[in-house]
């Protein structure tokens, strides 16, 4: 009764719950293999950077705007068009409205 | 209290005028329910507007002044108005003007009086009230055709500009 | 003898033609006060044409609109005048 069918496919939550449970059990089991000598608050937890000093949080912090640098740079031509489109000008918003209105009128009016 | 009563009565009279012909219960012109509503609404308006409508000036309660006012309106005022318009017509057609702004001291003291005089001046020949001195009640008047004779004596005599209006106004209001 | 109703309609037409003259002043007026003078004149003419139109068809309850206009057009004139003279509201 929980199966969702869409003509060509299906979706069963019970199955998904089972899969999730198994994943969780596996995760728990693997976790058990960890070292028992690992302790919090000792030297062990500190990062080892080839003997260099650990940088401060500000230096380690990667800004969100740099995160997908590669993607945005490769799509630069698309972004320049889109940025030009989003002018933030109230009149342009209405111009887009009128434009779509006119185009749709043309389509439906000619048809 | 007196202000409240006066305002209410005036409002009621206006209401009666507006609803003339609504029925035949009262004097053959008004219906009873209209009268009741008129009184109620007049009380409301009287309560709200009593402080602005009546400014401690009860001279106008005298009916003689009302008759005088009517006489003023029909007599000198209307005559001047007609003259003024012919004057403007003349100036519109010929385009001859000789304007200037002059000061007169009519010597009226009450607000109502000065207002009536200023309005009369605006509607009468070749003159237009531009400004008023709040303290001395002097009027500054734009005169479309300045009379050279009048400028000789300062301040300018009222009679050049507004004829006998200040006397009339004084008789009516003050 | 022309019909009285037609006469009043002709009056309205004449007044509308006068309104055109005043509207030219509103458009051309070099300063704002000139525009206001034009609008003030239009006000009065509109009131009169309303009364005349109501009288032409004997539609007596329509005259209320003219009274409303006569009372209210004055207020907008005052607002504009107060702005021009630089007063604070």
């Amino acid at each position: 009764m929980f199966t969702l069918e869409s003509g060509s496919g299906f979706w069963n939550p019970i199955l998904w719950i089972l899969v999730l449970l198994i994943t969780f059990l596996l995760f728990y089991g693997i976790r058990g293999f960890g070292k028992s000598t690992y302790k919090k608050g000792t030297e062990q937890t500190k990062a080892f950077l080839s003997g260099n000093k650990e940088p401060s949080p500000e230096e380690m912090h990667i800004k969100a705007s740099n995160l997908y640098w590669g993607f945005t740079t490769s799509m630069k031509s698309l972004y320049s068009v889109l940025r030009k489109m989003h002018t933030g000008n109230t009149s342009d918003y209405i111009l887009w409205f009128v434009l779509v209105l006119a185009v749709l009128l043309l389509i439906l009016g000619v048809m | 209290m007196r202000a409240f009563v006066i305002t209410t009565i005036v409002c009621f009279l206006i209401y009666l005028l507006l609803t003339t012909g609504s029925g035949s219960d009262f004097l053959g012109l008004w219906s009873n329910i209209e009268l009741i509503f008129g009184i109620l609404l007049s009380l409301i308006v009287g309560f709200i507007a009593r402080t602005v409508f009546v400014k401690n000036n009860y001279r106008l309660l005298n009916p003689v002044r009302w008759i005088l006012f009517l006489g003023y309106l029909i007599g000198p005022f209307f005559f001047s108005l007609a003259k003024a318009n012919l004057d403007v017509a003349y100036r519109v057609i010929t385009g001859k003007i000789n304007p200037g702004i002059v000061k007169i001291s009519p010597g009226l003291t009450t607000d109502l009086g000065i207002t009536m005089l200023a309005n009369s001046i605006t509607l009468t020949p070749g003159t237009l009230t531009v400004d008023i001195d709040e303290d001395t009640n002097d009027l500054y008047i734009h005169w479309i055709n300045v009379d050279k004779k009048a400028l000789e004596k300062k301040p300018i005599d009222c009679s050049y500009i507004c004829g006998s209006f200040p006397q009339w106004v004084r008789r009516i209001v003050e | 003898m022309i019909d009285l109703n037609t006469t009043f309609l002709l009056v309205v037409i004449a007044l509308v033609l006068c309104i055109i003259l005043a509207l030219i002043r509103v458009f051309r007026g070099p300063t704002a006060p000139d525009c206001v003078v034009g609008v003030d004149t239009i006000n009065t003419m509109v009131i009169v044409s309303m009364v005349a139109y109501g009288a032409a068809f004997r539609e007596v309850i329509y005259i209320d609109v003219a009274i409303v206009y006569a009372l209210l057009s004055f207020i907008s004139t005052l607002f504009i005048a107060k702005y021009i003279e630089g007063g604070e509201f």
């Binding site: - | - | 309205v12 037409i13 509207l23 509103v26 525009c35 609008v39 206009y69 907008s76 702005y83 509201f89």
Partner: protein, 84 residues
């Protein structure tokens, strides 16, 4: 309803359109507000001619007085001239 009505109606409509055009085109915002008041006025006359006195009163009260008042107050709160 004869030819007189048509003439009046057409004239008033043309004037209304002209007044709205003035309101849009003038650079001085105060003059634009005044032209808007004139448009409102003529629109009210048009409503009156089209036998809608209720709407004419509403347009008179709102369009001629309150709209003008609010626009003037807003111009007072900001500034009068359009920037180039």
């Amino acid at each position: 309803m004869g030819v007189e009505f048509l003439i009046i109606n057409t004239l008033v409509l043309i004037l209304t359109v002209i007044a709205s055009l003035i309101a849009v085109l003038l650079r001085d915002l105060l003059a634009a507000a005044i032209a808007l008041a004139a448009m409102s006025l003529l629109l009210s006359l048009e409503f009156y001619l089209l036998q809608a006195p209720d709407v004419a009163i509403a347009q008179a009260g709102v369009g001629a007085c309150l709209t003008t008042a609010i626009v003037i107050i807003a111009i007072k709160g900001t500034k009068r001239m359009e920037e180039e």
